[in-house]
Amino acid sequence: MTKLTYFPGCSAHGTSEEFDSTLKLVMKSFDVQMEEIPDWNCCGATSAHVMTENLAMALPMRNLVLAERLKNKTMGIACASCYSRMKTTKAEIDANPELAQKINSTIVEEGEYHGDVDVKSMLQFFYEDIGLETIQSKVTYPLKGLKVACYYGCLLTRPAAITRFDSPEYPMSMDRIMAALGATPTEFDFKTECCGASFSISDTEIVLSLSGNILEMAQESGAHAIVVACPLCQSNLDMRQPDIDKLAGKKYNTPVLYLTQLMALAFGSPVKDLKPSKHIISIEPALAHIGEEIEIPQKKAKPKKAVAAESEVN
């Protein structure tokens, strides 16, 4: 049984409970044991970073130190924002031992930092450590007919030099996982556009405008739902959707699902396990598309002779 150190982040027990619970379901199917970091603290999110230099690194570093004690190879992080803070801090202190020492000096009780835990987002863990084949092998209820727009947000693949995962412009890992589940990922150009994240409360206007663009493009792409891997993205796109509707003067009616919810569903969990009641935009209508035939734009059927001429001799 593989063990994975788990950093749930502040929203796991709150806004994103359904992410947390389906994540655990999915991990069980993969036979991965999740060990939550005991007494983890908030990574400081954007705020610590905006206002301070040292605190912004001290908060994540405490978690890194605690995580090392669990002696697992990898730490999986559920929230993209926590992931980014943790990964950036790690990159900075690993590159600069002096800085590491300085920041470590503020962490008295927890002890010393060694730098021997890998930090990954859950998406990255699924894609790299579990693998598409295993994922596909667990599918008992293929999501055929469901068209999804995969939304990565800004921080899962950026900055490329730090995340070293997938493309910062047009990532495909989540799309491939969705395809492995039987769903159809749409061609969606706003995969990594920012949703406004940290301005959710302080400058709602920005969130409405940015998240609005994302919903618009997702709808344009023909998706029934948006899939995300981050609680912040989820809450901006879901909770704010009625306000966005008002601004746009139309109803997007696009539910926003966690990738783990769809994985759980495909692996055989009943819909109620996805905690549909948590969603502001109801997920059922989207899920109703499962089982529908999808019209795949057929390549122009060519007369047999011409096809042969393409590469072979007739």
Partner: protein, 189 residues
């Protein structure tokens, strides 16, 4: 009109470069960052213009801009900058410099954003974690906007989207000590 030529040394540029680990002089004003930045429309000077202001040594004007407060650190711009400038780092360093020198815009928006971050950090200091409901409430009280987002509250609360309490960190003492020491480090710099 901006008058140049009165001072030769550009201390401001030097300070930003040192703090951000970039050389702002690398910027050749292509504007790729501006078209990329999701919030450039909300900034009074988009990233490209901030770069030029730093190059010209316009410290006060830069500090008074709201741009660095709006920057989401989304790193979209830096991923596309042809001169490999880490723009969010530059934004961050002018933010920190502005805080250090206690000179920044007192526009409502900037104040609101700072207030939010202050409250957030405060929550973390108190509980080791974020207490979302409390934070929203406090934000609304402190920004005198009691009814902001109130329309969302019933539904969100009902759906358990926003929990009523917070699971505190057990060792809040350790967290608070960390805060103190980090603050001290901040000052000694």
């Amino acid at each position: 009109m901006i008058k140049l030529g009165q001072q030769i040394e550009n201390k401001f540029l030097e300070a930003v470069n040192n703090k951000s680990g970039n050389n702002v002089l690398d910027c050749y004003q292509c504007g790729k960052c501006v078209g990329t930045c999701p919030v450039s429309d909300f900034m009074d000077y988009p990233p490209r213009e901030i770069m030029q202001m730093i190059k010209l040594g316009l410290k006060d004007e830069t500090y008074m801009a709201n741009s660095m407060w709006f920057c989401l650190t989304c790193a979209a711009c830096s991923g596309r900058c042809p001169r490999e400038i880490n723009i969010p780092y530059v934004m961050e360093s002018i933010r920190h410099l502005a805080i250090e020198e206690n000179e920044y815009s007192d526009s409502g928006k900037v104040k609101q954003i700072m207030k939010f971050h202050e409250i957030f950090i405060d929550m973390v200091k108190r509980y080791g974690r974020n207490y979302e409901l409390r934070m929203m409430a406090e934000f609304n009280i402190r920004t005198r906007n009691l009814f902001k987002d109130m329309h969302l509250a019933p539904k969100a609360l009902l759906k358990g989207k926003i929990p009523l309490g917070v699971k505190k960190v057990k060792s809040t003492k350790a967290i608070q000590r960390m805060f103190k020491m980090a603050e001290k480090l901040e000052k000694t710099q």
